[in-house]
């Protein structure tokens, strides 16, 4: 039989997701330990996660970032150089993260080195000394990096967008500004640590080749720590101000403009989250999206354009972003608005909707491929308080979105006058 290459092979739509369970236990001192156990390579990740992100900074911008970075810069028992040397010696990789909501100490290591790594993690969490010289070095490095970043249109556009969206004083709106970095003191940073990390409860998430033996190790090192209550004193949020509808930062020498458009939206627990997720995907969420087809594949204005729903613990937002050849900036803005209007006024054809749903289902399954990815997904349930069936119902929730709902979503949430615009470059 001659092969007919014009006919696509038959396929199955994904309807359900097999997910290794997360096992949670609580140590005698109240410390929650979660385990995502997938036994393949002999490696693991341990995360210690605190409510200590910018949300908990009490107005002191930069405190969370510096407090976390300084944990590896000196403890009662070890110098900065000794701490880096210590992790490197075991081939362990340390990450110190400060996010909008949470801060975390993360170590990737061979499972057999967990026992070596844990005492140092504990020392960093309990006995950091925030040495002055290391702090000044870090401040200097941060300032210099910031100066390089502020030369990048995409970085500047992101800063202007978030400041404009939430307000410069809002914990989600403020960014690392040189004047803030110059002024922050060692006392501010140690203060943030004392208030949000020292003796505060945290969550331990183990993923990879991990068993009860690793939980026992965590218990051995962390089980005797004592905790005060959770952080409760968060700053009063600033008055919600109206965003400027259009911001243009001219950069005469730029070849490209960096464009950001978007608005405040909701978090993952909102009833419209899944319908809006599908709407976003159609518009700019994947390579086959309408914006990508129009702006890149038909017109060649850009290397890429995308849209996203971003969800923090307390607020979320919608964002469209691209870097385009400067002379096509206005045309890109116009075409983007045109694509949004099309979503509002024309029902999405059935085959396009089916494609996007199948793609999202496949992408979801494909994003659960390593123990670390699975653990990251479970964080939504463990930390953001989403219902336990959030992941298991994910595909079904996407499948249930209709073309009519998408038009409603686009009309309800993507009204032209609600979307702010930031351009760095020119138009």
């Amino acid at each position: 039989m001659l092969l007919d290459r014009t006919q696509s092979p038959s396929f199955q739509a994904i309807h359900e997701v097999r997910l290794p369970a997360v096992q949670s236990t609580t140590l005698a001192n109240g410390l929650p330990v979660h385990l995502v156990s997938v036994h393949q390579q002999p490696v693991m990740r341990i995360e210690c996660i605190f409510d200590a992100g910018t949300w908990y900074e009490n107005g002191q911008a930069g405190a969370a970032f510096f407090a976390m970075k300084m944990l590896a810069e000196g403890t009662a028992g070890h110098s900065s150089a000794q701490i880096s040397e210590y992790f490197d010696r075991y081939g362990a990789f340390l990450e110190l993260n400060a996010g909008p909501d949470r801060c975390s100490v993360v170590v990737y290591c061979l499972t057999r080195h967990l026992a070596d790594v844990l005492p140092m993690v504990k020392e960093m969490l309990t006995e950091p000394v925030f040495p002055e010289k290391e702090f000044e070095d870090l401040r200097n490095i941060t300032l210099q990096n910031l100066r390089v970043n502020l030369e990048k249109n995409a970085y500047v556009a992101g800063v202007l967008f978030r400041e404009n969206l939430f307000g410069k004083a809002h914990p989600y709106g403020r960014t690392q500004r040189p004047e803030v970095v110059e002024q922050i003191t060692r006392t501010d940073i140690a203060g943030h640590f004392d208030r949000t990390i020292r003796n505060r409860p945290f969550q331990v998430l183990l993923a990879g080749h991990v068993t009860e033996a690793e939980v026992a190790l965590v218990d051995h090192y962390f089980g005797s720590m004592t905790f005060a209550g959770a952080v409760t004193d968060t700053e009063a949020l600033p008055e919600r101000t109206t965003s400027q509808p259009v911001i243009l930062a001219e950069k005469a020498e730029s070849l490209q403009s960096s464009i950001r458009m978007g608005r405040r939206l909701f978090t993952r627990d909102h009833p419209d989250f899944f319908p809006m997720l599908v709407t976003n995907e159609l518009l700019g969420g994947y390579f086959g999206s309408r914006l990508m087809k129009n702006i890149r594949e038909e017109k060649g204005f850009t290397y890429g354009i995308s849209s996203n729903l971003i969800s923090f613990r307390h607020e979320g937002y919608f964002l469209i972003g691209t870097d385009v050849k400067k002379e096509f900036t206005q045309q890109t803005l116009d075409e983007t608005r045109k694509e949004i209007r099309r979503l509002q006024t024309e029902l999405v054809p059935a085959d396009e909707l089916e494609t996007v749903k199948n793609f999202m289902a496949g992408e979801f399954v494909g994003s659960l491929n390593t123990p670390f990815e699975i653990a990251d997904r479970y964080k939504l349930i463990l930390l953001d308080g989403l219902p336990t069936d959030f992941l298991t119902n994910y595909v079904a929730n996407i499948r249930s979105v209709s073309a009519e709902t998408i038009a409603q979503m686009a009309t309800r949430y993507l009204t032209e006058t609600d979307l702010i615009e930031v351009v760095v470059g020119g138009k």
């Binding site: 696509s8 994904i14 594949e297 060649g300 199948n358 793609f359 494909g366 390593t370």
Partner: protein, 415 residues
């Protein structure tokens, strides 16, 4: 350890299967044995432009992406100086779609002039976005031709000059395709929730009918041994001075590669490395400073790269880096320092095998280099490195005459 089975089709396509029933997905990786090193010096950037064209429709299938998205699959590709690599991940149940799509574009592209025209623009914007509109984005465009004077690694994968991309014709596209995009110039790796038997059947159905082409025999000019230190200065409106130093070193699968790799780790992999401890922490001449390798198949580069703190001259910084480098030539490395970088390398290797797609790619790279088993001997080779081999490698690679140095000066602006 990555287990696999191998077979070869009559048309020369080499196929590797890595079974992993623990995942619901499959990865399909096709490596074409062509990279920017194979380009005509007058038509650079072509292998990469071509990678874009591979998504513009094939002989029987007008759109590549849409049918794949429809079955829940994702794909991407990259071009390096050595190879062009295409990959798909999708639900394992739908793996035949990947065979259908990949075999049709191996058979023939659609050669649509409209696709060429748009992708030329897209690649020019990629050039602008990554190389011209970024601080220091053009450093490698300057560094390559300094370090390589004969070998085609002297131009970047994106191309030597944007005009080469703008001037590409459909005839260029066709001749490139029929010269390199052949079953006998490719490696197919299928990994994940599949069986060898299933892959054999699918290969017989979709790939076996594609005719073999004239074998591509690579014959590239060898880069002569560098005998004199090279220096280039450039400047741009960047905030800080930057220093780049590139030393020739063995290719990815040549003897001595692991020793040179570990040498670069000691110099500047992490915060406990020599360069960081000495010149970022103790005497802070640099704001950041690191060392890494290009890991190319033909002899590659060990690169030291950093941005300077304000008020530090490039001359002063360069001399300080050379002093740290010279210690590795003059003195044997302590055992515990070697043990440290070996542990880092062992750990990196283990983590690189966590992701299914990475396992598939690692297998494809090794097979393309001549022996898939190379993927499983890496750990042994790392462990076999001794302080003596490190010092011998330091003497071979870190000689001043083997180095190309780029001074990237910050132009003072009034802003």
């Amino acid at each position: 350890m990555i287990h696999y089975e191998q077979f070869t089709l009559d048309n020369g396509l080499r196929v590797y299967v890595h079974e992993d029933a623990s995942t619901p997905i499959a990865a399909v990786n096709i490596l074409y044995n062509v990279g920017s090193r194979d380009e005509d010096p007058q038509r650079t950037g072509f292998a990469h432009l071509f990678e874009h064209l591979m998504f513009g429709g094939s002989k029987h299938i007008p759109s590549y992406d849409e049918p794949l998205q429809r079955v829940g699959g994702e794909n991407n590709a990259f071009t390096s100086p050595d190879i062009t690599n295409y990959y798909i991940t999708l639900p394992a149940a739908n793996i035949e779609t990947a065979f259908w799509l990949e075999s049709d574009r191996m058979l023939s592209l659609s050669f649509d002039p409209q696709v060429l025209e748009v992708q030329q623009k897209v690649v020019i914007e990629e050039f602008n976005q990554r190389y011209l509109n970024q601080p220091y984005g053009d450093a490698w465009l300057k560094l390559r031709p300094l370090a390589y004077q004969q070998h085609p690694y002297r131009w970047a994968t994106i191309g030597k000059d944007i005009s080469h991309i703008a001037e590409a014709t459909l005839d260029d596209v066709k001749s490139f395709f029929f010269r390199y995009y052949l079953p006998n110039n490719a490696i197919l790796v299928v990994a994940g929730n599949v069986t060898v038997e299933q892959v054999k059947q699918l290969c017989a159905k979709w790939f076996a009918p594609i005719p073999a082409g004239k074998p591509y025999l690579r014959s590239l000019p060898k880069e002569p041994v560098q005998t004199e230190a090279r220096r280039l200065e450039t400047s741009a409106a960047v905030p800080l001075n930057a220093l780049y130093k590139a030393y020739h070193m063995p290719g990815r699968y040549e003897p001595g590669f692991q020793a040179a790799d570990l040498l670069s780790d000691m110099l500047g992999r992490s915060k406990s490395s020599r360069l960081y401890q000495t010149l970022v922490r103790d005497t802070p001449l640099f704001n950041n400073l690191s060392a890494y390798i290009t890991a190319s198949l033909d002899p590659g580069l060990l690169v030291i790269q950093g941005t300077l703190n304000e008020g530090v001259t490039l001359e002063e910084a360069n001399a300080a880096v050379e002093a740290v480098v010279n210690e590795l030539i003059d003195q044997p490395v302590p055992d515990d320092e070697l043990a440290k970088v070996k542990n880092q390398a062992e750990s990196t290797l283990a983590f690189s095998e966590v992701e299914l797609l990475n396992r598939a790619m690692n297998l494809a790279f090794a097979a393309n280099a001549g022996d898939a088993e190379l993927v499983n001997t890496e750990a042994e080779k790392i462990q076999a490195v001794t302080p003596d081999t490190i010092q011998a490698m330091a003497r071979q690679v870190l000689r001043p005459e083997n180095c190309s140095t780029l001074f990237y000066r910050a132009e003072t602006t009034t802003a």
